[in-house]
Symmetry: C2
Subunit: 217 residues, 2 copies
DNA sequence: GCGAAGTAAGTAATCACTTACTTACCGGCG
DNA sequence: CGCCGGTAAGTAAGTGATTACTTACTTCGC
């Protein structure tokens, strides 16, 4: 019957690995919506369409399922791709020392990713509030690289005499604050009427201009 | 025995109103630490030192207790005080049209409050994630007034020709982003080693300078 | 002595997790 | 080719603990 060729669609028996990832996907969606305590193992099972016992065949406990899911998101196969590794516009901005383009492209790429992976953002936020240790690991592996990269560019431009003397880390925090806060507003108040409903490009452009030039005329 | 004069300390019988507020205080601490689903009514009761049934004499349900607590925090007796109503330095900055002082004092006052009432901040973030409707009410009553105030100042300075033409709302979001993101970092990673550990005054000063002048030399 | 503060001991529902069992798949042997 | 047996996928029906919430009762203060 060649069922195994279509096992991503049919509802019958499935290989262990596929089922495991199916459970993980359902768990991500549910945990990110309702948090760890707010999600039940029964909900996860019926979201996949299997019995609750199958969840516990693949994961020893609800906690382990949560850890596996955070671990996959944080350091898994689809490792976090940093914008400066893929975005040609950003590479060109660095070469040309085009400060506005530098901040614009970072903000745009970051906010695009936030918008694409809302469940991941919510998951990080939940686990930070709920004090799961993997969130700390993430912030010290991923975020500190972001600080180093942007801070490194700022330090270089300071040596050029193009930027005034500020602690680069504080400048990075200010800039990250603009874009993360904007993403956060969008994902938390998504379905409701927003205080500020603008295209990502407009936001990125304005944040870059404020970062470089401020709002003084 | 005049026990009623000391009823905030003794462990015996207490008046209804006092007990009610005692329950609310304990609930704030617990809900803000572990979220709505993560906190049990039994925990709240034993934190106060009473039986669980007493919680349900004062509040019809756990949900109603949570709503009462959010309501008290958001629109209760200690109404949110806006920095421009109390801070003389800020009033003077507005009169003098001292832009740096304007942003500095707002950032400083706001971040001070965030630091003083961490439970309130955590409560807001939890209820935003958990989609409690009172968080929406808060953000449209409180935050929109902040947008109006800061945005109003920016618009005035644009008419003066002192600020360039930007959508004031975007500028407000950028500025709020810097300070809220900084407060968030502090409260989420409080006990652990931080990426950036600086006094509030330093942060406020740098955020104001970036907001007004950017980082260009 | 009456009403309000207070509790012990429940309730049914739900939680994470287990046990005992059944079913489908697949490779190898006759 | 067929059939067979081991193994892994799958489930129904539980487990005791915990949940939010109640009831029936007691105790204190004015």
């Amino acid at each position: 019957m060649l069922k195994h060729l279509f096992n991503c669609e049919h509802t019958g028996r499935m290989s262990g690995d596929e089922r495991r990832e199916q459970i993980l996907r359902a768990a991500v969606a549910l945990f990110s919506q309702k948090g760890f305590k707010g999600t039940t193992t029964k909900e996860i099972a019926s979201a996949v369409g299997i019995s609750e016992a199958m969840v516990f065949r693949h994961f020893a406990s609800k906690e382990e399922l949560y850890r596996a899911l955070l671990d996959a998101k944080v350091s898994g196969e689809d490792k976090p791709v940093f914008p400066w590794e893929t975005c040609d516009d950003l590479k060109r901005a660095i070469e040309d020392k085009d400060d506005l383009a530098f901040f614009y492209n970072i903000a745009l790429e970051a906010m695009k990713k936030h918008q694409e992976d809302v469940p991941f953002m919510r998951l990080m936020f939940y686990s930070a509030l709920e004090d799961h240790s993997l969130a700390e690991q993430f912030f010290h592996e991923f975020v500190s690289r972001v600080y180093d990269f942007i801070g490194g560019y700022i330090a270089e431009r300071q040596r050029d005499g193009a930027f005034r003397e500020v602690d680069p880390k504080i400048a990075v925090r200010a800039f990250l604050g603009m874009m993360i806060h904007h993403s956060l507003n969008n994902l938390l108040w998504d379905k409701r009427r927003r205080l500020l409903d603008i295209p990502l490009e407009t936001a990125a452009k304005n944040f870059a201009e404020i970062m470089v030039n401020g709002i003084r005329a």
